[in-house]
Assembly symmetry: C2
Homo-oligomer: 418 residues x 2
């Protein structure tokens, strides 16, 4: 009996109540959302997280080793940095060293729900064992999904909506395939002349998810990696298949998440969110950015925050962090934290727009008027950073060093009453 089926029978479980409490929405709203697949519930130990329509937009941070930097200790530091900066979930995308050992470590130490991409383990394991990418069997791919779920991943990304047809449609692109899982699978399909095993066996994947009551995140293997590829036939083809797979999952009572772009011009984002929601039957929408320009390397967290805010305001539910080192290098712990805060700003800005929740903003403004710095630093999304800036130019004055004696709050306060 999955959460979705239980909710469908009218049962408001402890988890549903916990989500309602955390989000300050009625229990019945959450129960209905879970029953309809509009809300998924992720769990990690005592931590329960709702993602979906009408809830606060959530933020995921990616961590994980790479072949060039296989330093598990550094990845654990990133986990702590991400959680410390306020990430709601983390995904372990390790492709260096032993991905299973790394996932086990992340699962053990993470206080927040953990997602993973099982198919990486299948391909990386084979290729490291000197087998060719095309030698990986469909069974190995499915086994990797089973194993990640058994290990306790709260959600797993499965690139089940990329098919041979989708790959053909992507051939005309500037950046054909930019998703790691997508490029493994498209190469596998091209080299073997076979259909994607994750697509053909999606029913089995849903059975596995049902067994563990975990969520499947339907990957966006053909997400556009360039503004000029955005909204093309390959992207729309995969979206259509995501919708079909969503229907299969829902018919079995399994909650899913659908992943989306990628790189996308600002003007197309709101429309994309509405389309995705409609095609995928209201399933929670997880966006990777979107990045609103291709030329922000070194500052892609800013480009991602712009796209993420617009997406979340239009209804996207889950923002994947983009770090400042995106497109350039494996991020450091500091980069991850920087990215998490940028995404949280986007999510919160959207929350003000979509749910009218500006309570902390009002408190902050009151604290500013009173020049109450202690409270300002406590209310800031990143109080530690705010404190650093304040300290760096400390003058001992109540005003900040921008205006000093000519502080607007001071002058207007005296003239208009504090």
């Amino acid at each position: 009996m999955t959460r979705m089926l239980e909710a469908g029978r009218g049962i408001a479980t402890g988890e549903v109540k916990a989500v309602a409490r955390a989000e300050r929405v009625p229990v019945e709203f959450v129960r209905r959302g879970v029953a309809a697949g509009r809300i998924v519930v992720l769990r990690k130990g005592e931590s329960v997280l709702g993602i979906g329509e009408g809830l606060r937009a959530k933020v995921n941070a990616n961590i994980g080793t790479s072949p060039d930097y296989d330093e598990p200790g550094e990845e654990m530091a990133k986990l702590r940095a991400a959680v410390g900066a306020g990430a709601d979930t983390v995904m372990d995308l390790s492709i260096g060293g032993d991905p299973y050992a790394m996932l086990a470590r992340v699962l053990k130490e993470s206080p927040v729900p953990v997602g993973s991409v099982p198919v990486y383990s299948a391909f990386i394991g084979a290729m490291r064992g000197k087998r060719r990418l095309s030698d990986v069997s469909g069974d190995e791919m499915l086994e990797s999904v089973a194993r990640h779920l058994e290990m306790g991943a709260s959600f797993v990304t499965v690139h089940a909506a990329i098919t041979r047809r989708g790959v053909e449609l992507a051939r005309g692109r500037v950046l054909k395939v930019v998703s790691r899982g997508g490029c493994f699978l498209s190469s596998w399909m091209i080299q073997n002349g076979l259909e994607n095993p994750l697509y053909e066996n999606f029913g089995y994947i849903i059975e596995l998810a049902k067994e563990h009551d975990a969520a499947i995140s339907i990957g966006d293997a053909l997400r556009p990696g360039a503004i000029s590829d955005s909204g093309d036939a390959a992207m729309l083809h995969e979206l259509k298949l995501q919708g079909r797979l969503a229907r299969i999952a829902f018919s079995e009572g399994v909650g899913i998440i659908c992943e989306g772009p990628g790189h996308m011009p600002m003007g197309g984002i709101a429309e994309n969110v509405r389309l995705q929601k409609r095609v995928c039957h209201g399933a929670p929408y997880y966006v990777l950015g979107p990045l609103v320009t291709d030329i922000a390397a070194g500052h892609d967290h800013v480009a991602g925050a712009i796209g993420g805010a617009i997406a979340a305001a239009a209804g996207a539910d889950f923002l994947c962090v983009v770090t400042p080192s995106e497109h350039l290098a494996l991020p450091t712990a500091e980069d991850v934290a920087e990215g998490v805060v940028a995404s949280r700003i986007a999510a919160h800005a959207a929350d003000i727009a979509r749910r009218g929740r500006s309570g902390p903003d009002l408190e902050m403004s009151r604290a500013r008027w009173r020049l109450d710095w202690e409270r300002q630093l406590r209310l800031a999304l990143d109080g530690r950073r705010a404190a650093e800036y304040r300290r760096r130019r400390s003058t001992g004055s109540r005003a900040c060093s921008m205006c000093g004696e000519f502080c607007a709050y001071g002058i207007a306060g005296r003239a208009m009453g504090r």
Copy 2:
């Protein structure tokens, strides 16, 4: 004969042609825009800059001393940092030491158009001479405008649209008045029981602008400084008066810029831009942010980039940089550069949305597919920063350290042809 009047007579001057060339739009488009007041032309030496409808959104960086950090050398470093990071204009907002000396230095060394806020000089000068704020005369305020224009400011902010009525309307706010000029003037009006001399003598200010063919930027003295104050009666009252003043300026053939918020929820920004443009007869719109949340201290450049991108996509023409130290401290040169890049990302993202100009993005995506790093770093908005990230984890490999041997461009390139 001002630029606006000349353009109105059908003359396409060298400046108009230079703007058309830089923006890749027809000369006639620029001429008509200038004639109608929809485009202003700013000049600094040989550097000619168009701001307004149908042109690339521009970015202004603020620099200037404060009473607590009166270090002209540091401000000159900020000027270089701002220009180096790609700011289209700088405003000198010095309120420490001798503001005239500082402005002279900035005007001498800046390669880009320089804006200033004359009324600061009047108030700061008086208060530093132990006179009270309320002792400053209207004539002194007007003299400061004349002097800044004589010194060669390309545009000056004049807080002419804040009146006694506006101040009364702002009394109910959480953060009554947050603009420095606005708080000087509102306190002056309250203490003297008199109307704003800049409002009452706007015709004279326009005469001065005409004499120097400089642009007047009508300040947003009552710009909301809190999400909860956004869109209130005080803001709308000032906007209405900006529209009246715009009409006076246009009737004299003087180009203006209108300044806007401030702090504003995402959902209200596009509507605000449309309203501002309508009320102000299409005058170029200069936004200070807008900041889409109040709790991003330490990362306000990100909150400002979100708001700025949305504003510019909706038609705002000029984005004022918000630095990461906003609300906390006088920024450093590094903060200014960080803010400039964030605003340029916002402006460029909006440009893709509003003018379909994604040429450099396409080139960047092509360079990515070829793993041509030299070209990627050259195309990046901040190539220096991008190079730092790439170098930090340098592996000698063509791929980046994120995926190494499992680089999607590499794998997909082999399978699908490069």
